[in-house]
């Protein structure tokens, strides 16, 4: 079942694991841990960096973030499509255009619904 073609994946997986552990350990041991003004000030979203979890928050940030993720994923699809476009067929060309069309219709919907206006 697990042929030799899976060995690169195993190596990749192990390296990822080791790298993650090294980075986490380095972040704790090497990085300076003093609290300065910049670190204690609020984020762009209005949250304080250190506070209790049970507070009221505006759902709007999360809505924007979710909408952002959709278009971020669109880029992820588009990038390999551009890279492979010279070797691929018309089917690939039209399928991604249909995908973009459907996404745009969703975008029009959320725009007219007022999800993007900041109240």
């Amino acid at each position: 079942m697990f042929d030799k073609e899976f060995i690169p994946f195993a190596i990749f997986f192990i390296i990822c694991f080791i790298l993650a552990i090294i980075l986490a350990v380095l972040a704790y041991s090497v990085a300076p841990a003093e609290e300065d003004l910049e670190k204690l000030s609020s984020y762009e979203c209005g949250f304080d960096p250190f506070e209790i979890a049970r507070i009221k928050f505006d759902i709007h940030f999360y809505l924007i973030a979710i909408l952002f993720i959709v278009f971020d994923l669109e880029i992820i699809f588009l990038f390999p499509w551009c890279a492979a476009n010279n070797i691929s067929s018309y089917e690939n060309f039209w399928s991604i255009l249909i995908f973009l069309l459907v996404l745009t219709i969703g975008f029009v919907y959320e725009w007219t619904k007022g999800a993007l206006t900041w109240k």
């Binding site: 079942m1 089917e91 459907v102 219709i105 029009v108 919907y109 007219t112 619904k113 007022g114």
Partner: protein, 513 residues
């Protein structure tokens, strides 16, 4: 076999028509209605959607008439007469549910037109489920449908029960979807394909090897394939709520609004039952014999848990959810025989069960009930709320009682013929005798709670004012014609088997020259 080029989209015209017009409808809706929520907008969108569904049915009828068949999108989809017929039924059921929902939307102030479009997208997803010819395409279609169903579960935003039911349904459904995807990956590791036809051929070859006892030398990973297929089967039996996977269904069906329960129980369950039959009989037929013991266990549990669980329930929606679990048991009993008669019996049972469900939910949707000394109507929730309905609306109550008798399998009604066909199919296999005994006992137990409802309708003296005040013209017509079919089925029973055989033979058009 007929292979269609990817640019020749003529055989999937109905689906393309439905999806394109739905996207257009969404754009028009968002530009015209903006944030103006009103019941008129919902009605307008519903009328347009019903028109679109009728248009799709016409296109599907055209496909049926011309016996259109073939594969498209690199064998991801297969169009043949069996699935086309099932699609027409699904769309008709959807239209029927939408017509029944009109008054409910008005009473409950459901003012978001988006739900109508979601309903349309679910219908499109159901069409894709019925014609998917690859387990990954099937997975995507099931997920598309499931997302819509999760949205429909929380159609009443303020309802605590709806939120709880939606959350439960979402978490458990997503988990079952994950199990399915895992199973598909195992199957892919073993065989290198998830295509229905390739898997069918692979299993057939494995069976031949197994009979000549050379399997162990040639392929030592046969178990992995079976494990994967079993995991994929879990999602399918989860969606129809067969017994070990039924735990979500009473809570969800009880919690979501009644009109959504109607949609789940009538349209979605019909589609998934047809899908299960298709997968077990047409795709994984050689796998059916391997998994038979598990299916037998599932059937026994469904029959017993369904019928005994329903006896203890006092709330009507919960009672009928449990009763539907036991009906699933009968359908599985027909399906696991693996014979042609069993296939016909299961299909007939699905059809008649769906028709009875339509009557049941149209009746429940029209029951409103006045509390004593209280002028605001509340919906009937328990059996004792039904007391006195038989006096106030004798005609519709009698029709409903006929429907209950058909559910129970009392002779002159259609349910009896469906059940006896299932039992006849099971009788042909001697190993199924104990299972048959369980089925008959469960059938006896189920009479108890159906008769309990009939007793509450007609034979309990009361002074409480209870009547079907939400009964409008559409529901009357639906109930009347459906029950008329259930009653008159006895006259057409002669050529039923021939018709059913012609229906399922439609699938094998695919492989004919």
């Amino acid at each position: 076999m007929y292979y269609y080029d990817i640019y020749d989209l003529s055989i999937i015209t109905p689906e393309i028509f439905l999806f394109c017009s739905l996207l257009l409808l969404l754009i028009c809706g968002s530009l015209n209605f903006r944030n103006n929520k009103s019941l008129e907008n919902v009605y307008l969108t519903s009328k347009i959607l019903i028109t679109l569904l009728v248009g799709t049915i016409v296109l599907l009828l055209n496909n049926l008439e011309n016996r259109v068949k073939g594969f498209i999108f690199y064998d991801l989809f297969a169009i043949e007469n069996f699935s086309t017929l099932a699609k027409i039924f699904v769309l008709l059921l959807t239209i029927s549910t939408m017509c029944s929902a009109k008054l409910y939307a008005k009473q409950n102030n459901l003012k978001e037109y988006e739900y109508v479009i979601v309903l349309g997208l679910i219908s499109g997803g159901l069409l894709i489920i019925l014609s998917a010819h690859d387990f990954m395409a099937l997975y995507l279609a099931i997920e598309l449908v499931s997302f819509g169903l999760y949205m429909l579960a929380v159609i009443k935003k303020k309802s605590i029960y709806g939120a709880e039911a939606g959350m439960k349904y979402f978490i458990i459904g997503a988990f079952a979807g994950g199990i399915y995807a895992y199973g598909a990956s195992l199957v892919y590791i073993q065989t290198g394909t998830t295509n229905f036809y390739s898997l069918q051929y692979y299993l057939y070859q494995q069976k031949l090897l197994w009979h000549t006892n050379t399997l162990n030398f040639l392929n030592h990973n046969y178990d992995l394939l079976l494990f994967g297929l079993s995991l994929m089967l879990v999602l399918l039996v989860f969606k129809i709520a067969a017994a070990p996977f039924h735990v979500w269904s009473p809570d969800v069906y009880e919690g979501v609004p009644l009109i959504v329960t109607t949609y789940y129980a009538v349209v979605v369950k019909f589609t998934f039952l047809i899908l299960l039959i298709k997968v077990l009989y047409f795709v994984l037929f050689d796998f059916l014999y391997v998994i038979k013991s598990a299916l037998i266990l599932m059937t026994v549990l469904s029959l017993l848990i369904g019928s005994i669980g329903a006896c203890t329930q006092d709330r009507i929606k919960r009672l009928f959810t449990y009763s539907s679990i036991s009906h699933i048991g009968y359908i599985l009993l027909g399906a696991l025989t693996g014979s042609e008669l069993g296939l016909s019996a299961a299909l007939l049972y699905i059809f008649i069960y769906t028709l009875s469900n339509i009557v049941l939910f149209n009746f429940l949707l029209s029951t409103d009930h006045y509390e004593y000394n209280n002028d605001t109507p509340t919906r009937v929730a328990t059996i004792s709320n039904l007391i006195g309905v038989g006096k106030a609306n004798p005609f519709v109550s009698t029709l409903f009682a006929f429907n209950l008798l058909s559910f129970a399998g009392i002779p002159p009604f259609a349910g009896f013929f469906a059940k006896i066909l299932i039992f006849t199919a099971a009788l042909q296999d001697e190993t199924l005798f104990p299972l048959l005994l369980v089925a008959i006992i469960s059938s006896l137990i189920s009479c108890f709670y159906y008769l309990k409802i009939i007793k509450a309708l007609f034979f309990v003296a009361t002074t409480a004012l209870t009547s079907l005040i939400s009964l409008d013209r559409t529901k009357e017509i639906t109930i009347f014609w459906s029950v008329l079919f259930l009653v008159c089925f006895a006259f057409t029973v002669d050529n039923t088997l021939a018709i059913l055989e012609r229906i399922w033979l439609g699938y094998f058009d695919l492989f004919k020259k």
